[in-house]
Subunit: 276 residues, 4 copies
């Protein structure tokens, strides 16, 4: 028996399909679907965010990234708008009808976020924040669990196991690159992990090519690779003006580049008869 | 200017010496001292812990490890005695007069721990749990900040910067091994980091050879290396009966082996005129 | 200016297309083509190899793997048939008309191999065997340069630079996975490197999903990902009876599984209008 | 049984002590000795090298570094003086009476080097150059085998096994740092490997703190750590004028700094009753 039980395919042979029905538009995540999550790294202001949200909705995005609490390596970096940003996200969700995903860093923020976001994200740095994982197990919201910077696949599935074991079955895995010796890219996307997880687990698996590479020119080829390897979707950073983004500008696509990527992804999804 | 400011030697050229005066026995941590922290991985019960605490006090240990909340990779592993364990730790502290160090995983546990422990430890997996770091910056207790499994030295110092920037100047760094490709040892202790940190920063630096190696036979040579490289002390796991330990038995020393290690460490400390 | 010059796209903006005309069937490698290299890890005997060569030729393989000198971690493992195997490879080349690729480990073997193989491979462990690289620069055969186990992209391109600087312009890069902390897979295929190399360099880039993953079930998804990311081809291990292979059985495809993979690769290549 | 046999302590419980008697001064390497190898990264000219050799001999160095063939990442870097440098090394050996160590990169150089150097070094990049290892097994000179940049301890011992299995029992292991994600230092010295090798194998183990750290200020603390962890000696780079060195200047000690390091090493060796 593998150390992760509830997350294993032996325990649950059929694929877990997550249905997001809390928003105006129903969205599915899991095997057989190709789900596109997009948005800026951080909500920087109402005007910027609502305008981008409308563009992304028109481009057929399924779920909006809505970062309001940003984990930052340095205490002196921009950390997101916090609860003030939540009001902006509310508007975007109402205007577009799209579900939103946001990162939760502090268990004490659950009250603020629970009813106003459709997917809660546990970030890489918190993948083994067991306090947070246990709290995520107690709620009924879908959780996107990003892989830790140097987490093994087994540790990642055991982190998912914490949530599943708490009673929340809606866990989405997100590969976002691992830390290696290579300095050219921000992280090394582990494409083999995508293939392997489809065999080991029934949980949906998404790839984030923006954080994985840290360079916008690499986002499209890595996103295509993710879908070709069997991922159930991608999460990408889009910004109207990447050069002026308050965080992660170098890895953000413009809406034009994103539109081109979307077309490529749709063709790959069709090849595999995935619903979009 | 380096991205970490308050932690840098440019900002504060003189070494930070931390004085633990909350316990019966006054203890110092920092350049010029050689401080030995020891104890079991986890407090498993009153009898086991109090008996070991007495032995360690007799062997000249300066600070007692007192793990009551244990971060565990699997949700199915022993997670420590929690608040029940705190009562046992209180007794050990009273009986031996030694200061105690315990790990805090959840900001909500601060009330329980604040007045009853002398040093709070932020574990490897929480090195970038910024919520926890910010909370540690608000209190006046010394904080031992363990290096993340794959944290760079810069990220580690920036994590310290979070605490310093919050107003708490009592930060102790603890090297506990990094994750590499080598399967023979649990982690790879980065002895160069010890040397480098003494140049980059004024903060005390401790090495944990038990977690770093995962093999008790390697604990003594790596501990000696730590002191020879300039570390201000070591933190080691000791257990009366390592084979029966509920966690980390393989890397725990018996009291006999620990006594031998202590003698070797004292000789090295003398060579460098360190106070013990 | 980047440290690698001759290998850079700044120096030579147009893609390098390598034409293999030494064999009966002309084959191209480079941008715009999708080239499939297949064969067993090692030539184990005449009957086995010739029968497989015929099968692979019928399945449309472009180039035959023909390992006769095998670098092995242990001195006690099977090291290939050596010069005896060369005679078998000669026959396979004559029967199928396909070009062959074989690894060269020793500069003194050049005399044996030069006129009888179409591509010489420099393996991962020899990527920085500068003696061998310099010798490869002196000849006119195409060289496939595998990435070292922990070579950065820059070091890899500098190894290619050794060959180019010697006067041999026919260098093919082969990503075969890098060494990381992940124990589930043999190596971690760096799919981002494929995308990046297409920007940094004009040289063809091939992916070897067999060595990169070490598990045959992962070969097809990773091979698809490679083509989707922009690779100019794949190199895969095929064996009639993987369980009985003298080396690398676990990562070898049966001819049936390979036929299925080929179909998937062709569809992806069509999507990008690549010649096959 | 472990995969490495001849290198294991189970096969040969007593420590291998290597006696260098080919030079005027007899030198021992192995358990119970503390051997200091020093010299410039490369022999750059007669005047520079002979003057430094005299200084090092006066400072009690046991073996002279004598690099004449330098493996360089870029084909455009200084690659050593080659056979011309050999004449200078001959003189240094005669003048000082000290044994010399030099790296061999090409099996075809064996004729040049065999009778004129006392220890042949197989560098990190050639640790799995099996052609070279097999040739080293056929001769009777002591071989210093440096650990590959990302070689596991098992792979390293298997590389030693190639030499031992060929019939040459005089193998010295040299830890020189492994490649990790840490950008601050050139490599991460694996101090735990030193401790582990003393348990797994009977072969002498030396540490090279210069290559391992890449920063001269870290050389002394890491060298001390190596001896404290049980290493049988150190190999350090010394240069009269590090700023003007043709290679590796940043990690070279001046003769003055080296003299100070030597004193510190001697004290540590005395503590363990090692012969010097």
């Amino acid at each position: 028996m593998k150390p992760f039980m509830l997350a294993s395919r032996e325990y649950k042979p059929e694929d877990t399909i997550i249905e997001i029905s809390s928003s105006a538009k129903k969205v599915f995540l899991g095997e057989g679907y190709c789900t596109i999550i997009a948005g800026p790294c951080a909500v920087e202001g109402a005007e910027q965010y609502l305008s981008l949200a409308r563009i992304l909705a028109d481009l057929g995005v399924h779920i909006l990234r809505a970062g309001i609490f940003k984990p930052r390596t340095s205490p002196y970096s921009f950390k997101g708008l916090g609860s003030e940003g939540m009001d902006i996200v509310d508007q975007a969700r109402m205007i577009t009808g799209l579900p939103v995903i946001t990162e939760i860093m502090d268990v004490r923020d659950l009250e603020l976020l629970h009813d106003r976001v459709d997917i809660l994200q546990v970030g890489s740095r918190n993948m083994q924040n067991f306090t947070l994982l246990e709290e995520m197990g107690r709620i009924k919201r879908p959780i996107m669990l990003k892989r830790g910077l140097s987490a093994t696949i087994e540790e990642w599935l055991l982190a998912a196991e914490y949530i599943l074991n708490g009673g929340n079955e809606q866990v989405i895995l997100c590969e976002r690159g691992i830390r290696t010796f290579e300095p050219y890219t921000r992280n090394t996307v582990d494409i083999g992990a995508v293939a392997l997880l489809k065999q080991l687990s029934h949980l949906p698996i998404i790839v984030d090519p923006s954080h994985a590479t840290g360079r916008w020119r690499m986002v499209a080829p890595v996103a295509r690779a993710a879908i070709a390897a069997g991922a159930d979707g991608i999460m990408v950073e889009v910004h109207q003006n990447p050069d002026k983004a308050l965080s992660d500008g170098k890895q953000s696509l413009t809406p034009e580049n994103f539109a081109s990527l979307r077309d490529q992804i749709l063709k790959l999804a069709e090849l595999d008869n995935k619903k979009i």
